[in-house]
């Protein structure tokens, strides 16, 4: 996977501020942003200012930002992949882009279009020991038939989706409740993970055991092992203890033709 280039970041920032109700003016790589009150509170790190304004009923004055996606020093705060501001915006996007309910737009000429309910869930799975690897899984589950697909997100973004039910759309009632659907998806993910290659975890155990032996050798013959021994043992466990972390990135209900 390739990280985002500066053009993509520019578009990302532009879209983000538009979607969160800020005013944006774009001059090539430069973005002039008038933050909304809500976004000022989210990304400007000035809780005391806002507490003061609210306590005194003062005139709120949300900040203006001048951002640039050019790496040449010049006007504006440089935003690139990995810059703290972008990470901060990512946190906001995670919070505000977690749950949706969308409808596929129907042909206006048709009298009635049946829309089938789907549950979409996107998972991030991290394999962790002394190093990490992450995989993104995008599931879709047909809540009528129980049919499940992978890489669902890429098919969703091809579609014309709107947040309100089209006038001529008819949403079929689901047979599988969304909560049950989530359980099915979870079970499917568990199966994928069990089937996966876990050489990494076995290798971590080998490294762990080897280092434990070295440690034991150092304290060989010491009956009352000092606290240092336990601390070091704990450190080994934290370093090499293999773990799989699953988090849901986002998901929602989709009524599709």
């Amino acid at each position: 996977m390739i990280a985002m280039n500066s053009q993509q970041i520019n578009q990302f920032l532009h879209d983000f501020f538009i979607e969160t109700g800020c005013d944006v003016e774009r001059q090539e790589e430069l973005l002039h942003v008038q933050l909304s009150i809500e976004m000022d509170k989210k990304i400007m790190n000035r809780p005391f200012y806002w507490r003061y304004i609210e306590a005194t009923n003062g005139e709120p004055n949300p900040a203006q930002l001048k951002l640039t996606t050019s790496l040449q020093r010049g006007q504006g705060e440089i935003i690139h992949f990995g810059s703290p501001r972008l990470q901060q915006i990512y946190r906001v996007v995670e919070e505000f882009g977690a749950y949706v309910q969308m409808y596929e737009e129907a042909d206006v000429t048709a009298s009635q279009v049946l829309l089938t309910p789907w549950l979409a869930v996107n998972y991030k799975v991290a394999y962790c020991c002394d190093c990490t690897k992450e995989v993104l899984y995008s599931f879709g589950l047909n809540l009528m038939t129980g049919y499940m697909v992978l890489d669902f997100h890429s098919s969703l973004i091809q579609k014309n989706l709107i947040p309100t039910k089209p006038a001529n759309g008819f949403c079929v009632q689901h047979i599988i409740a969304p909560q049950r659907g989530l359980e099915r998806i979870q079970a499917a993910l568990n199966e994928i993970i069990v089937e996966d290659d876990h050489t990494w975890a076995n290798e971590a155990i080998v490294k762990w055991q080897r280092e434990q032996r070295i440690l034991d050798y150092f304290y060989d013959g010491v009956d009352d092992k000092p606290e240092m021994y336990e601390i070091e043992k704990q450190a080994l466990q934290e370093r090499y203890g293999a773990k799989i972390k699953m988090t849901i990135v986002n998901g929602g209900l989709f009524y599709l033709k």
């Binding site: 992949f81 990995g82 990512y90 069990v194 799989i244 972390k245 929602g252």
Partner: protein
Amino acid sequence: MVEIEQSTMWQEGFENRLNGKLPWQNWSLYKMNYEMTQANLIPDFSGLQCIKYLPMLTPLQHQINAATTVIEEMHGKAILADEVGLGKTIEAGLILKEYMIRNLVQKALILAPASLISQWVEELSMKFHIPAAAYNKKYSLDGCDVVVMSMDTAKKSPHSERIYEQNYDIIIIDEAHKLKNHKTQVYQFVQGLKKKFCLLLTATPIQNNIFELFYLISLLKPGHLGSYEAFQAAFSASKHSAQHHEFLQELVHQVMVRNRRDNTNIAWTKRHVQIVPIHFSPEEQALYTQISQLDVSNPITRLTLQKELCSSKEALYETLSKMPAPPEEILAELQQLTINSKAQKTVELIQQINNKVIIFTEYRATQQYLQAFLYENGITSVLFNGKFKKSKRDYMKHLFKEHAQVLIATEAGGEGINLQFCSHVINYDLPWNPMKLEQRIGRVHRLGQNEDVQIYNLAIENTIEQHILSLLYKKIDVFEQVVGELDAILTNRSKE
């Protein structure tokens, strides 16, 4: 099967949308969340991910290699022992950043000499976008994930207790050779820290003897070199057998990365090192003999006095006059002394060099004397020592660069100042420890130096300084036997 951790956070929010308690969210932001998560994904166990997060930083190849080796082969516990000036801080920054991106490190503790704290904070935040803060005892450590503090503060109560309460994922120790003595408070403090990941930074993992390296490695990985006795036996064997020697070197290099100037892809300027022999005047020699015969309770005192006389009568006078029973006769003779042969030779050298020079001395009294003596000879100089605050250090550096020919530094000035615009170093006094010389030379022989570097080691014949020289050679041999080759420190001698 591997332990699985699963968060139910999303599920709760989802239920609240299903039952209408909370509104559904924005489709564009939903897509952006997916897109951003995909861009931030860690696709592989190996390889440095942090590079793509740092487009403004251009690390050198040997720095990238060092960081990769530490993470992939040493599993995050290592001694970074590059020669001075190759960018150990950058390597440590890359490693820390990588672990933070991979979510293996949230909390980091960095211990550095007090004079380097602000430099660490600045480099981490400017170059690596790591929000580091200098320790402030007024604030709780809970709220600060990456903290930089001095070893001297950290080891003391109540700071040490406050640190132990935290659960740091990585401990980074700069100038780690300060941990060479296992009996010190600071060593024991570090020993008591949990080290999930740990980096020890030092260009000079051995200063005086091989056991310093043993204790350093035992701090990092207890047992790696076996017990003290086993190590001692292995080391004696290695002196006589090439096989043991290789084995010991290999063990050390399992936990140590050491880049040498010569094996980086950088075109380094040359280093010319020479010993400048000096002869005492008859008056100085007579005094030296008297000092050497002085009846002192502690033989170390005699060594100190001898060493001081080799530096300046001012340095000696300070110590002598503070003795419980000052030898009045010698003091009187000392005051009569008008010639300092070494200082005279120094002036000659500076005039010959006719360019910027740094002089290192071990004594504050000598430092001041030299400034006055150079002034009498029409040579401008500024003084420098490590106790200066950063602003003063920067100012002195500026003065030296713009207005003075010579910078006279005491030992404590050897760390944390970079003077690439100067290429001549006079070691006016020799320290007992060869690594101090290496640290001094490192101030000028580093990235950004465009000229060949000239080093002059002054040593007075038939005095303790000759003994120091031979000791320095021995210590360098031990270092090279275990750690690897060293750049020229004393002379450009050829290897047998």
